[in-house]
């Protein structure tokens, strides 16, 4: 059965929630499709959500007559133009749209180093998500490493949940961090947040220009060796929470043929992509935090609903918040030395267990996929593709459906070709 909507929003994080709420204010039938069990995206998860999250929940509830929510469904292809196909509990759903808003968020970037595949070497946001969903870290010793503002937030979160954070290691140099702090002095909200996290982790040593060079242990992780300049030292701990900032989830946009520029989905002033009636908001257009995601979501929602004047009123705020996104990009740019961390036997592709020694002779991502099965496993290159882009400078080729592995039964089925109903 194909369901029909005027506006389909893919992704229920801050950007998607704002887009759906704004579009529905004008009575358009809207559906919001998300692969999680609840709305909120990567940031508004679990029980202790902030006031902003509750505000947007309430705004969505107030227009609930026009908003359909589909949870636990992952969009993976487009069987015919204008129809999305999503998988939910092993079955597929077809959803027809007039306008599409992609708000698929971002993911953590993981980089390979010896020992990174050991259990308990987890993402930084990854460990936080696991604790939010019931992992107990009470009394556990954790080293938080990688890059980005997330590290401080994660360390503070883990501490308040009873973990003992032994070190926070940021790969960016101290001089860049200073410039970053200097630039956010005028943004009271951001500054307050940064200071709160810093206060909560006051007792934890913070190292700039520092990164893990290896993780050690038998079957399970036992210790991490860190390097800062010429100094290297080893810390015994239970978890290494390690993520190198975030990367935009552009796969779905790429699949629709939207232009990607510099790893981000290119959009015009209305948040419309290079494809007519396909909009994009939030982290896929560049990593800028929840506030920018909300502003972009509102612009996309209003623009898709034909309320250009309303959308326009957010342009100024968006310009200001985009400056912060630019600042993030400059501050947390990766140190090229990180590309030298994998050793010959270090596995780069975790799904197919392809080591660095095999990949280093390959000329391109395409060749590597063909000859070594790198990127052919279930993550479909989301982990190793991002890593090899940095290590070897490869760019992933064209995205082919399905963009997520799905039970075979949902692939071939033809959608019911029902005339699009006039919903306006």
């Amino acid at each position: 059965m194909t369901q029909h909507f005027d506006i389909v929003v893919v992704g229920g994080g801050p950007a998607g929630m704002a887009a759906a709420a704004c579009a529905a204010e004008y009575g358009k039938p809207v559906v919001i499709v998300d692969d999680n069990l609840t709305l909120g995206g990567q940031i508004w998860r679990g029980k202790d959500i902030p006031a902003a999250a509750r505000k947007w929940q309430a705004r969505l509830d107030s227009v609930s007559a026009h908003v359909t929510r589909i949870h636990g469904a992952r969009v993976f292809s487009q069987p015919v133009p204008g129809v999305l196909r999503a998988e939910q509990n092993g079955r597929y759903l077809d959803i027809a749209y007039r306008k599409l808003i992609l708000a698929t968020g971002a993911r953590e970037r993981f980089l390979p180093f010896p020992g990174w595949t050991l259990p308990n070497v987890v993402g930084a946001g990854g460990l936080q998500a696991l604790v939010k969903s019931g992992l107990s870290v009470k009394g556990k010793h954790v080293v938080v490493a990688g890059s980005g503002p997330l590290l401080l937030a994660v360390a503070a979160y883990l501490q308040t949940h009873g973990a003992k954070v032994l070190a926070i290691c940021e790969q960016a140099q101290f001089s860049r961090l200073l410039k970053f702090v200097h630039s956010i002095v005028t943004d009271s909200g951001k500054l307050r947040q940064a200071l709160t996290y810093k206060m909560q982790t006051m007792s934890v040593p913070f190292y700039a220009g520092c990164y893990p060079v290896s993780a050690g242990g038998g079957k399970k992780f036992e210790s991490v060796t860190l390097r800062q300049g010429k100094r290297a030292w080893t810390i015994a701990c239970d978890y290494l929470a390690c993520g190198f900032h975030l990367v935009p989830n552009t796969e779905l946009a790429e699949f629709f043929g939207c232009r990607i520029s510099n790893g981000k989905v290119a959009v015009d002033k209305w948040q419309q992509t290079s494809i007519l009636d396909v909009y994009c908001a939030g982290e896929p257009t560049g990593i800028g935090g929840a506030e920018l995601a909300l502003v972009e979501g509102q612009i996309a929602g209003y623009a898709a609903a034909g309320q250009q004047d309303k959308a326009h009123s957010f342009f100024e705020e968006r310009a200001r918040r985009r400056k912060f996104a630019q600042l993030l990009e400059e501050t947390f740019a990766l140190d090229p030395a990180l590309a030298q961390l994998p050793q010959d036997e270090t596995l780069v592709c975790r799904c197919e267990d392809v080591p660095y020694s095999v990949l280093k002779h390959e000329p391109s991502w395409r060749a590597a996929k063909l000859h070594t099965r790198c990127g052919m496993g279930p993550c479909q290159g989301r982990i190793c593709g991002t890593a090899t882009e940095f290590i070897f400078g490869w760019t992933a080729g064209q995205v082919r459906p399905p963009i997520f592995p799905t039970p075979l039964s949902s692939l071939g089925a033809k959608p019911e070709l029902i005339e699009l109903q006039e919903t306006r």
């Binding site: 679990g46 946001g125 019931g134 279930p378």
Partner: protein
Amino acid sequence: MPERIALTINGRQWETSEGTTIAAAIMNTEAACRTSVTGEERGPLCGMGICFECRAIVNGVPHQRTCQMLCQDGMDVTTQ
């Protein structure tokens, strides 16, 4: 008090609170989730459904991404 849920992980009974994902429950038992194609033990990495490292057998169905599934009373989970 959050409601308690009883499930079996690798043949043993465990209790957990409502809202716990299977991945978190498996980690709480100190087990790994899956064995890789070359025989390495693996546990969750991303916690958000993209890396597929948290795959396990849930109620007899293999390759389930356990970080995206909540524990339910009477569930049977086996690492793979």
